[in-house]
């Protein structure tokens, strides 16, 4: 079974979704929870049997699809993708479990299960075309979720989301095809296998163009400034579960793809574009944080904060050293947990009041103390309080980038200030002060179903903040081999200099050596 565990992980939810059409709509929630739990258990099994010390791909599967054109179904995980897969399974599980009563709950759950297939597929696939298939396919369930269960502007938001990301991915598709062609030219064989591509050394000018092509696909997905405007709409209109999964998993596809494609395939281009991208990332960080501060709608605020944090992830990725990349991958998971949780929390209050305007609240700490506590923890995690999960990622990302540029890192570090400004002022507006609105006086505190989602997230937030090693270790291993691949492949002198050679680094496992 372990030989095929990845395929099982990918296609089990899809199969379950199809069978789900048969299940009665009164039992569908239980069905959904059961399926998602099994999926999550399987993903934990994956982790359990994952060899933490290995840096390469594990659980590889290889099935020929279109051998004449080099398209194969290849899946595998390494430290970089493993945890995002687990996270995807986890969020689907708690998402379904805590789903509030909506119309057409059956369609919702079936859609979520399909979405899960695409999410796991994206992170597990090691063939560019298969990757692309899942990448694009993930748009459809999300389109439906936003468009069918969203707010008043849902159609605009969902179509915008779809078209924008779709357009970006199409440019990426051209990039993929060019890449395959270059591989064909060099080796005489068609191949879309990412691991094959990793071994291909390209001249710098090709790298630059290809980098740009891939960049459009990834940047829109992330979303990077100035391609971010679909996100506030999508989040603003999406139902809670949609926002949660969008923020927690779907956005990570972009940043993950940078790590999986852009860095190892185009090391020189990555170095070449490091500063422009870093500047974009910095604009993302500061500008969107300021925009977040100007929001009146708490969900929009969290959406913009997502963009801001994604900027830090991008920055870490383009630090091009082990610290930065590991940090950015860890931050992907961290941001997934934290922003997912924040969207859950916004959903909790939206369910009660049907509004997301911060001015409608105030003094909620009096009436909903538990809610306020959890919200507070998540806000603190979001602003990067040490010993929460986000700090580890942000610290490492910024630390990593500091090696490349001092000034830019200092500017990027403003993130921790502006982040605190909008988050704390939002918290103050909603939770502090006196209860001014009559409707708010008798709001019930978080209930059990909501706690099912929130408590595990709080636990993860703190647990991985204190002890990130189980996650950071495997990530670090894989990143190390990634960086050494980049270093070896780099063509230009500058790239060789910018990308450290991991084999010369002293990797420590204890500080005792010094004493």
């Amino acid at each position: 079974m372990l030989d095929n565990i990845l395929s099982i992980l990918i296609f089990f939810p899809a199969l379950a979704a199809i069978l789900g059409f048969v299940v009665d709509k009164n039992s569908i929630r239980t069905y959904g929870v059961a399926v998602a739990t099994i999926e999550f258990a399987l993903s934990l099994l994956l982790w359990f049997f994952f060899d933490n010390s290995a840096s390469g791909m594990q659980f590889m599967e290889h099935i020929a699809l279109v051998p004449v054109f080099g398209i194969n179904y290849i899946v595998g995980v390494d430290g970089i993708s493993l945890f995002i897969i687990i996270l995807a399974a986890f969020f689907t599980m708690i998402g379904i479990a805590s789903l509030t009563d909506t119309k057409n709950v059956k369609n919702m759950i079936i859609t979520l299960l399909f979405l899960q297939m695409t999410m796991v597929g994206v992170f597990a696939s090691l063939d560019a075309i298969v990757f692309y298939v899942f990448w694009e396919l993930s748009l459809v369930p999300m389109l439906y979720i936003i468009g069918a269960w969203g707010g008043p502007l849902r159609i605009y938001a969902s179509v915008k989301f779809f078209l924008y990301t779709f357009a970006g991915s199409l440019v990426m598709l051209v990039g993929i095809l060019v890449m395959a062609y270059l591989y064909y030219q060099t080796t005489g064989q068609w191949s879309f296998a990412i691991l094959d591509w990793h071994r291909l050394v390209l001249p710098e000018n090709y790298q630059l163009w290809l980098f740009v092509a891939f960049f459009f696909g990834f940047a829109i997905k992330v979303p990077m400034f100035p391609f971010h405007t679909w996100l506030p709409y999508a989040h603003g209109q999406a139902p809670t579960i949609g926002s949660v999964i969008l923020a927690a998993i779907l956005l990570k596809m972009g940043t993950y793809a940078f790590v999986r494609f852009s860095l190892p395939m185009f090391p020189d281009a990555s170095v070449y574009f490091m500063f422009p991208i870093a500047i974009l990332a910095i604009i993302m960080i500061i500008y969107t944080a300021m925009v977040a501060y100007a929001q009146k709608d708490i969900k929009q605020l969290v959406a913009y904060s997502s963009v801001s944090h994604m900027g830090v992830i991008i920055l870490g990725t383009f630090a091009l050293n082990i610290e930065g990349i590991s940090g950015s991958i860890f931050l992907m998971i961290a941001h997934g947990v934290v922003s997912g949780a924040l969207f859950f929390l916004v959903g909790v209050i939206y369910d009660r009041r049907n509004t997301k305007l911060m001015s409608e609240f105030g003094g909620l700490a009096h009436v909903m103390p538990r809610f306020a506590t959890i919200f507070g923890i998540m806000i603190m995690a979001s602003v990067g309080m040490p010993l929460t999960i986000n700090f580890v990622g942000e610290f490492l990302s910024l630390l990593g980038f500091y090696q490349q540029s001092h000034i830019l890192t200092i500017i990027a570090g403003i993130a921790i200030i502006v982040g605190a400004i909008y988050m704390l002022s939002a918290y103050k507006k909603m939770f502090f002060g006196k209860v001014t609105k009559e409707e708010n006086k008798n709001l019930p505190d978080v209930n059990k179903r909501e706690l099912i989602a929130l408590v595990p997230l709080v636990i993860i937030t703190i647990w991985l903040g204190i002890y990130p090693k189980p996650v950071l270790g495997p990530i670090s291993n894989s990143v190390e081999s990634l960086v050494s691949l980049m270093h070896e492949k780099a063509v230009t002198k500058e790239a060789k200099a910018r990308i450290p050679n991991p084999s010369t680094l002293i990797i420590r496992t204890t500080a005792q050596e010094a004493y």
Binding site: V66, P67, I129, E136, G147, F166, V174, Y184
Partner: protein, 502 residues
């Protein structure tokens, strides 16, 4: 005294005629049956046609086998040319026709299907198309083209609505003009080379190194105009939306596939050698036509309010997309053309069939067209499976993986990339994004809007019967699982295209 004609029957290779003769004989058979015993149910003719096409298909398989063994065959005074292109396109023509015919067995009774002439004409048309693709003689192309076209005009008119007459007249008139262009173009080539066989034209032109280049170009212009009309290349496309709207949905779907593949094959035969000989003008013009056709058709499709008309523009756009293969002109591109068209025929026939099953006998109240977007509002509530399938076709048309058309698009774009048409590849790719908007619009209507007031829920599938459902199911399965047969298809197509020297 003329010498007695002395030709051995074997050298005629009469086998080459067999696939074309089957539908013609079949058509005559249907007419004869009608002559002896009229007033038969349409199901008889449907099944008969299906059988005849089946036989046709078997003949095709045989010629495919012969081709794989012996390569290209000429026959009947070297008029017939059975090469890979001919076989592949005939497969598409006959296959798509077989998918189309059962659509006649709709729930609602439509005028045209009760006439046996309909089926006879239909088979004649197929015969015409088969002739058209299986020759490089301009006369035979002309004859085949006109036979098919005239039959097609009649078939459209037989739908017996005001709009269908209008459509038929428009199509016919423009077709006549296009025929004029074709004959003029042929005349120019004949004048230049003294031959009307594409092969020889090419040889002569190459031999004299295109000395009369402006006259060659004049000929090319008229040919382009003529095939531009058939392929609905902007600005020769204006008939397409009206004709699609005027004819029944099933017919429209059929028209978006079969006539075009026939025209593509001829265009490929005609223009490929010109492209290969590096006439920049042609490259520029084709480039412009391809880009304009793709983009403008997409843009026009954006603003449509009727789904069928939208699909008409979308078909124009797809044709423009595929036209790029002729411009690129590599083996991969030409294979991509066939691959694309096979996958497209699944999807597009499927989507038009979905319109067909949602067809009412008469215009719904308050609607100006048969298939306005409004009609599909909230379809997911009234007919969830139909809505899902329709969405599937739309997503496939938009080029969303892993559905059928994605693979076609991907392979086509790849061929552009491989031939260094990077910008073209980008334009082709981004056009999918524009197109996605109007495909999504239908999905939005179906999945995200509330049903119109007064629709009783069955409206969307009133015309469905088992045979229609079968066809749709077939198309849907083909659309979803295209990737499973992709390798086989690709190997097959590439071998055939390569084997015919394209």
């Amino acid at each position: 005294m003329l010498e007695p004609v002395n030709i051995s029957l074997e050298s005629l290779n009469l086998m080459t005629l067999a696939p074309m003769l089957v539908p013609i004989v079949g058509a005559l058979l249907i007419l004869i049956i009608d002559f002896f015993k009229s007033e038969q149910d349409r199901s008889l003719y449907v099944m008969l046609s299906l059988l005849i096409l089946g036989i046709d298909f078997i003949f095709l398989i045989e010629s495919a086998e012969i081709f794989t063994e012996n390569g290209t065959i000429m026959g009947v005074f070297d008029v017939m040319l059975i090469d890979g292109l001919a076989i592949l396109s005939q497969f598409i023509i006959v296959g798509a026709s077989m998918l189309f015919i059962p659509l006649a067995l709709s729930q609602k009774r439509f005028h045209e299907f009760s006439y046996p002439e309909f089926f006879a004409l239909f088979l004649f048309m197929i015969g015409g198309f088969q002739f058209m693709v299986a020759t490089d003689n301009l006369i035979l192309i002309f004859v085949g083209l006109e036979t098919a076209s005239l039959a097609l005009y009649t078939l459209i008119a037989m739908h017996n609505r005001d709009k269908s007459f209008e459509a038929a007249v428009k199509y016919f008139t423009m077709g006549a003009l296009a025929a004029g262009f074709f004959s003029f173009g042929s005349m120019v080539f004949y004048a230049l080379t003294g031959s009307i066989e594409i092969n020889q034209i090419a040889q002569v032109l190459q031999a004299n190194n295109y000395e009369n280049i402006e006259f060659v170009l004049i000929g090319v212009v008229f040919m382009l105009a003529s095939f531009g009309f058939k392929l609905s290349i902007v600005p020769f496309h204006t008939w397409a939306p009206d004709v699609y709207e005027g004819s029944s949905a099933a017919m429209a779907g059929y028209m978006s596939i079969v006539p075009k593949i026939a025209a593509f094959v001829v265009a490929m035969r005609l223009f490929e050698f010109l492209i290969q000989s590096g006439i920049i003008w042609l490259e520029v013009i084709l480039y412009a036509l391809v880009v304009i056709t793709m983009t403008m058709a997409n843009i026009w499709a954006l603003v449509q309010t009727d789904v069928k008309r939208m699909l008409a523009y979308s078909s124009i756009s797809h044709a423009g997309f595929v036209m790029a293969a002729i411009l690129i002109g590599t083996t991969q591109a030409n294979s991509a053309l066939f691959l694309y068209w096979i996958l497209f025929s699944f999807t597009n026939l499927g989507s038009f069939s979905m319109l067909w099953i949602s067809r009412q006998k008469n215009l719904p109240a308050g609607q100006s067209s048969d298939h306005s977007y409004n009609k599909f509002a909230g379809m997911v509530k009234t007919a969830p499976i139909a809505a899902s399938i329709m969405a599937l076709f739309m997503l496939s048309l938009a080029g969303l993986p892993p559905f059928a058309l994605f693979w076609g698009k991907m392979y086509m774009i790849s061929s552009a990339v491989t031939a260094d048409f990077i910008v073209l590849a980008l334009i082709m790719a981004l056009n999918s994004a524009i197109a996605a908007y109007y495909y999504l619009k239908l999905i939005v209507y179906m999945f995200m809007k509330e049903p119109m007031k007064g629709s009783d829920g069955n409206v969307s599938v009133t015309n469905a019967t088992l045979s229609l459902k079968t066809i749709i199911g077939f198309a849907a399965v083909g659309t979803i699982f295209a990737f499973l047969i992709l390798n086989t298809l690709l190997e097959f197509i590439t071998a055939f295209v390569y084997g015919s020297g394209y």
